[in-house]
């Protein structure tokens, strides 16, 4: 890796100022993607501005119907502290990478990176979450902008994620056996206003909502309601691990299984309007 200066400010204001003064600066969150990227010399920032000492960016706070998760909260902390309020989100966080990676990697870092096979984007999109930044609030629908691309501006830092808690939810992923990233992952969330289905790992343009599935499940919350549906394979990603047809098949299968799991496990009444 090229040498780089690391600075560890104590406040968000100081971090923003440092980024403004160093046009070639880069935010360092948990580093679990950024450090491997730097090792491969795929990026060469002159300054890394660590968020590691900014207390305000950490922790899960419980509000009525909602979790507010600090951007620098690790996956391990979300897995533990969201377990009661939002079990599907906690389970998703507890399935990212491995235990040591989960002790460093953060929700804000994952969202800002927007890896097309990352888990968090599916949860955030299916939950209709709001990404709070140093400058504004961005709805999940507006935030993800294609592979590794987001609505964030230069020097803008995610500070928190506001996640509405659904009545019931399930996340299923089919892990790529080597990387453990999602070859396909489906998050199904049941809200008063309807069912939301978000898909990661499979979209040619990154995470997406499968609106046909949402409409079908709104009419009848049953795996069989998905039977007539087919994803447009032209919009599905293909690589050496799995072609578009296989990924499309996985998405449908995982959605069916998620619905099935909810029908078996959700609290009585949670799935009815």
């Amino acid at each position: 890796m090229y040498d780089v200066e690391i600075t560890r400010p104590l406040t968000l204001e100081a971090a923003l100022r440092l980024l403004e003064e160093a046009p070639d600066g880069q935010v360092l969150a948990g580093g679990q993607t950024l450090i491997p990227t730097l090792k491969q010399r795929l990026a060469a920032p002159e300054l890394l501005v660590s968020l590691g000492r900014i207390e305000d960016l950490r922790g899960v706070s419980h509000q009525p119907g909602m979790l507010v998760i600090g951007a620098a909260t690790t996956h391990a902390t979300v897995a533990r502290d969201a377990a009661e309020a939002y079990p599907a989100l906690a389970a998703l966080a507890g399935g990212i990478g491995d235990p040591a990676v989960r002790n460093r990697g953060t929700i804000g870092g994952s969202l800002a990176n927007n890896d097309p096979a990352a888990c968090y984007p599916a949860a955030v999109l299916a939950s209709g979450a709001t990404i709070v930044t140093s400058a504004r609030e961005i709805a999940a629908e507006e935030f993800f902008d294609g592979l590794f691309t987001t609505a964030l501006d230069e020097g803008e830092i995610i500070t928190a994620v506001r996640v509405p808690v659904p009545r019931a939810a399930a996340y299923l992923k089919f892990a790529q056996p080597a990387s453990r990233f999602a070859l396909a992952g489906v998050f199904v969330a049941v809200f008063d206003a309807g069912v939301r289905v978000a898909v990661t790992g499979a979209g040619d343009d990154g995470v997406f909502r499968w609106e046909e599935a949402e409409a079908a499940l709104d009419r009848r919350f049953d795996p069989e309601a998905l039977a007539p549906l087919a994803l447009d394979e032209d919009a599905i990603m293909g690589d050496i691990h799995a072609g578009p047809a296989y990924r499309a098949h996985l998405v449908k299968l995982l959605t069916r299984r998620a619905v099935d799991e909810l029908l078996r496990n959700a609290a009585p009444g949670a799935l009815r309007g």
Binding site: D3, I6, R8, G31, K39, L48, A76, A100, V101
Partner: protein, 162 residues
């Protein structure tokens, strides 16, 4: 260059490092603690797992500067030189939980982190927790046996020092 200070295995240490110096490089090259291994250098294999403020991390995927002020425990901190092995280390020996031994420091540190969190894990929990530790020799069975045995021999509280 930056001066960093931290506690490593209970001792105050400091050193001058570049920004790009990784925690594993600081431990091995600056402090001579070569028990922490670099296997893949891509955060896959877990040979470099150490504890930072009580949490297992991959020392090849954390900057040394980020450990400023932290308490770090490495495999060298799991038993005093010349003293008997800790219960996890002893269980690895008793149950043939290693062959070449390259992955063992990381395995032991991951096992210690697991047993602190879950003093009496099931076999499935042990296997799940070792997701990020690769072993090319043993096929894992004896590693899992060793960790389950260590859980039996340790105190009911699962004391921090293994």
């Amino acid at each position: 260059m930056t001066t960093i200070s931290m506690q490593v295995n209970g001792k105050a240490v400091s050193g001058n490092v570049e920004g790009r110096t990784l925690l594993v490089g600081f431990l091995r090259d600056h402090l001579g603690l070569t028990g922490t291994h670099v296997g893949c250098d891509t955060s896959q294999c877990g040979a470099c797992v150490v504890h930072v403020d009580g949490l297992a991390v991959k020392a090849c995927t954390m900057f040394a500067a980020e450990a400023e002020g932290a308490e770090v425990t490495t495999i060298e901190g799991m038993a005093e030189p010349g003293a008997p092995l800790g219960p996890i280390q002893q269980a690895f020996q008793d149950h043939h939980g290693l062959q070449c031994g390259f992955c063992t420091p990381g395995m032991v540190m991951s096992a210690a982190a697991l047993l602190r969190e879950v003093p009496r894990p099931s076999e499935a929990q042990v296997r799940d927790y070792l997701e990020g530790n690769l072993c090319r020799c043993t096929g894992y069975h004896n590693i899992v046996r060793a960790i389950l045995a260590a859980a039996e021999t340790r105190g009911p509280q699962g004391e921090a020092q293994a």
